[in-house]
């Protein structure tokens, strides 16, 4: 459904995107992970026909984004990371405006707008001025706006950014609903656990370069010879931290009071040696085991050393 071939974008001497090759199948949810300025938004803007690439090609639904922008625009619903709304319009008028912009006939609009407001849980706010909606509601209204022409592809740039936890959960539920409707979704976020639940495939981008790409299941820190370990001690926290930091196989120690989480690059024998050392120092170990890795661990492991 979405394909890029050697996609590159340069702003003067700065290369914002370097030879990006992506292929996203129809109905899949693709998560784009990367720090700010990594090239996620640039990619999404090119796919949304808002930016001309310096070189390379991008296709949506088989249409070249440069040569067939009108066809591409019919296929996509784009939600930028920051977007404004028209404050002097009511929610229904706002959606009606975009229905008009997509040339949806008048007779279909009423039912369509009601359905969309229902989908994003804003039916009760139909006649409220957009100005009076909370940020989360505006974000959901923006998502409804993306859907007025029933696009096959949704390009969502940080849709949960700036939302409180409750609004974020509501947004995620709507996205899960959209996935079940068979939409192809490309979504970026720096809140990584959110993507893990939602996405089929993940792409990690840093400094304009795609450094990892695959299904969520395949994306494990194990492929890099790293395991995530957890250690809980009864007391002597400082001593435990010293033992961990002295160990050459331990990286990125996260100390939450008596609970440690860290990356371990050694073998099973090295793990056993570390536990022996801890016990030998008289540290009362409550538990020492491998932890379930999350997307943040994957991201940190993959981007280790990139860009430095």
């Amino acid at each position: 459904m979405i394909e890029t071939q050697g996609l590159t974008k340069r702003y003067g001497k700065l290369e914002a995107l370097k030879e990006l090759n992506l292929k996203i199948e129809q109905g899949k949810v693709f998560g784009f992970i990367g720090p700010n300025g990594a090239g996620k938004s640039t990619t999404m803007m090119i796919l949304s026909t808002l930016l001309r690439p310096s070189s390379g090609k991008a296709y949506v639904g088989g249409f070249d984004v440069e040569k067939n922008p009108r066809e591409v625009r019919q296929l996509i619903g784009y939600m930028p990371d920051f977007f404004g709304v028209y404050d002097n319009l009511k929610a229904v008028e706002y959606l009606d405006f975009y229905c008009g912009a997509y040339q949806i006939p008048d007779r279909k609009r009423r039912a369509l707008i009601a359905d969309l407001l229902e989908l994003v849980n804003l039916s009760v706010k139909a006649d409220s001025y957009v100005d009076s909606l909370s940020r989360g509601m505006k974000q959901r209204l923006g998502l409804a706006r993306c859907l007025v022409h029933d696009p096959k592809v949704l390009i969502l740039d940080e849709p949960a950014s700036g939302l409180d936890p409750r609004a974020r959960i509501e947004m995620r539920e709507i996205l899960i609903e959209l996935r079940s409707m068979g939409k192809t979704i490309i979504i970026s976020s720096h809140i990584l656990p959110e993507l893990a639940e939602l996405c089929d495939d993940i792409g990690v981008i840093e400094n304009g370069k795609l450094i990892a790409y695959g299904s969520v299941g395949d994306m494990t820190v194990g492929v890099r010879g790293i395991s995530i370990m957890q250690l809980k001690v009864l007391d002597q926290v400082e001593e435990a931290e010293k033992v961990l930091s002295d160990c050459p196989f331990v990286r990125r120690v996260d100390n939450k009071n008596r609970y440690f989480r860290f990356q371990f690059t050694g073998s099973d024998a090295d793990k056993a040696a570390l536990l022996t050392k801890l016990l030998g120092e008289g540290i009362p170990v409550v538990s020492f085991s491998e932890a379930k890795e999350n997307l943040e661990d994957v991201f940190l492991a993959i981007t280790e050393g990139v860009g430095s």
Binding site: S48, L50, R52, F83, V85, E93, Y98, C99, G100, A101
Partner: protein, 276 residues
């Protein structure tokens, strides 16, 4: 007409513009200022007299017309210089550009709705002119020409505002440049014409044979307005190729089309940019 009434951009713009109290305030203030000037002048002229001469009515007409032209030069850039940059600042432009609305549709709709409002302001002042008609001194033909002349000015200064709004990212910058260009057209062309005339005279070159001066006199709004109301500003010996208001209309309407075309091009996100 159906296309106009169903254009979503026009409906949205009109909804937004006429829903706020600001619109009523602008319209009310404009009429108040114009009315105050008119009644002030009539009061002063008739305070100690028992008669009112038609010649004085004509002076009021000239005064109203000059003020109206000044107001158009002041209001048109203000209302149009933020139309597109405002969308950009509000972060709504990118979303608009991913819909089926073409850059031309966006530019022309913005232009049209701004013009509608400015036209409403000017047309709403028509009853003030009826006072002048009451006393005579002005022909209907002159009035029609004047309103045509106003329409051309509104379109041109509006186009300057829309162009600056598309070209410059910030509304503040766009507004300043729009006013700068308006000043250049309104005052700059007059100064340049007078300077060139003096220079030609000084060098003893033939000013009357040159096609430059009829053209220069015809592109300054002040000179053209004076010609329409029958006040001779240009030397009487100078002959125009065509009536100044016609040349003025052709020149500025052509320039308006060019500016709007340029604004449309600037707005196209996939346009090819020059390298380097």
């Amino acid at each position: 007409m159906r296309g106009f009434l169903t254009n979503p951009m026009i409906i949205k713009e009109l909804r937004e513009r006429f829903r706020t109290g600001k619109t009523a305030w602008i319209l009310g203030s404009y009429l108040f200022v114009m009315g105050a000037i008119l009644f002030g002048v009539i009061y002063v002229e008739t305070a100690n007299k028992i008669y009112f001469r038609p010649g004085e009515s004509r002076q009021i007409f000239i005064l109203l017309t000059v003020i109206q032209l000044g107001m158009i030069g002041f209001i048109a850039p203000a209302l149009t210089a933020g139309t597109i940059s405002g969308e950009r600042e509000r972060q709504t432009l990118n979303v608009l550009l991913t819909t089926h609305l073409t850059p031309f549709a966006i530019v022309s709709s913005k232009m049209l709705t701004s013009l509608l409002f400015i036209s409403l302001v000017v047309i709403s002042s028509l009853p003030l002119y009826s006072f002048v008609f009451l006393y005579g001194g002005i022909s209907p033909e002159q009035l029609i020409k004047i309103f045509w002349f106003f329409a051309v000015n509104i379109i041109f200064f509006g186009s300057v505002g829309v162009f600056c709004s598309a070209r410059f990212r910030r509304t503040g910058v766009s507004t300043i440049i729009s006013y700068g260009l308006t000043f250049l057209i309104g005052v700059g062309t007059a100064l340049l014409t007078i300077f060139l005339w003096q220079f030609f005279e000084m060098m003893e070159w033939k000013t009357f044979d040159s096609a430059l001066f009829p053209f220069m006199f015809s592109i300054n709004p002040g000179f053209v307005l004076a010609e329409i109301i029958g006040e001779k500003v240009a030397p009487s010996s100078m002959t125009y190729i065509m009536e100044p208001w016609i040349l003025f209309s052709i020149f500025y309407l052509g320039l308006s089309v060019f500016l709007l075309g340029w604004a449309t091009r600037v707005l196209d996100p996939l346009r090819k940019r020059r390298l380097g």
